[in-house]
Symmetry: C2
Amino acid sequence: MAAHGAPPRRVALGSGAEFDLIRRLLAGEGELPAEVLVGPGDDATVLEGGWVLSTDLSVEDVHFRRDWITDVEIGHRAAAAALSDLAAMAARPVGVLVSLAIPPEGGADAQAVHAGILEVARDVGAVVLGGDLSRSPGPLVVDVVVVGRVGEAALRAGAAAGDEVWVTGTLGASAAAVRLWASGRQPGPELRRAFAHPVPRIREAQDLVERGVVRALVDLSDGLAGDAGHLAAASGVKVVLEAARIPVAEAARSTLGDAALEAALHGGEDYELCFAAPAGGVKGDELSIPLTRVGRVEAGAGVWLKQKDDEARPLTRGGYSHVQGDVS
Amino acid sequence: MAAHGAPPRRVALGSGAEFDLIRRLLAGEGELPAEVLVGPGDDATVLEGGWVLSTDLSVEDVHFRRDWITDVEIGHRAAAAALSDLAAMAARPVGVLVSLAIPPEGGADAQAVHAGILEVARDVGAVVLGGDLSRSPGPLVVDVVVVGRVGEAALRAGAAAGDEVWVTGTLGASAAAVRLWASGRQPGPELRRAFAHPVPRIREAQDLVERGVVRALVDLSDGLAGDAGHLAAASGVKVVLEAARIPVAEAARSTLGDAALEAALHGGEDYELCFAAPAGGVKGDELSIPLTRVGRVEAGAGVWLKQKDDEARPLTRGGYSHVQGDVS
């Protein structure tokens, strides 16, 4: 459930090399102080008083290339990605702190990047609260810290066997844009927009939680398979997705063909929401954007995919034990 | 004064190219929400409930070089620099969020950097609350977000004409180490330690504020001239430093000679405290580290330096108007 009297303090992460490293880095950490309501492992940290914090790093030539998008769009994208973590907690944005490492002349224009960040921040009611500036000897680096506030945070934990799994919007378009650029082609306007101008689902998350239908919530930054894996691990359940139900973006499908499903599952950076809801609790017309039931929660672990033959196969390491004591 | 019923919401910054850019980036920003008690321009942001936030960026080949210090020391230094911003508010550390961009093989060891961060965090009672990880195509980048808590924050504003200006510890050793490395020499152990293992003055700041002697407080990250300039700008006063009183580190003086004063004034990264106190309010033996009166507060603007001839000359652009409306 979204409302928790005593939420889990540390949250189990799903599978993946980045998360293995994070698990190692967090290993051996002591008790969290009582004034920290949700610690590492959810989409954001929650502090006493309902303050919600998260930080999101965007690095040139890792997350974006400057010959793909403009400096304003680099800022826009970095801020939207960071704010999506507030959506994932159903939090109301308050502000951002912006750290920029700026390459020498000929590199990115700090004011343009900042303008892109401001544009998205203003759209969701957030102001600039601080930050840091540095030169960079190489890539442009943008680290956006988001600060939000929430009454009761929606968490990754809370899904139960029998729940339905839903997603907002359509998936795979941003990853399809990256695949086209990487192969020397130009994405069309819809794919390009998905990558350069993602919209954090702030309002939608609050709407869904207010309707009381959200048991567990995550945002889709790493692809549906990976992020549903976080929800499954944090909730201690199995998520079974149905391939035919996944709302792959039409522009991704018409460009990538069958590979578009792969982009939706593993591509990432859609910044849509994925949530578990009680069976029958969601009709699908609650929001002004598409809402699609993509699967079910069962007893077990990991994320599984049912394809045409109706047999579910594991998409993530379902048998892996994610309890903190198991961290190597 | 440290205690403010209605603290300044946005804080005027002192002079310097970085601050000119920050002023431009913050230009045009709207009103801060009421739940934000101190906004951009002080050492940290203060939120309702006494939560204090700041972020500090450390970039390879800008802030450090990997042939100067170890990966553990890189983490140590980055965390100490960030935590020093909590000292500057007299806040109690609660946690850190750590964003790392890690170069490919042969670059820094993420776990060693993280171990250095943890070492300093634990020393001051802070835990890891979250973070982000990325590859880097070039430099190691460490962004440390610090989260603290305070009853009433010590601010940069509050100094009044007639106050004394004090600093903790000794100055210039870290900058002296950098100057030696940059000229191909090896700093001795004391200078090296000042650069690699700065100690954020968390306890000392709280002690001084509890004694009721702190009217305005800043930490020394950019050199005494620059940081006293922030205090002067935020307080709307002039700071007059006396060269002969500045506690230049002996190891810096014995290595750099007369240039050591320059390192103390403009070198930066000492992470000591500088504060304004009512005349006669501080004896100098309050802490277990040196406390030195370095000057006085007068009506006016900017930072001025008195040398042997007893005539004060401007160290910063004292006549510059730092009010928000003046931002170009």
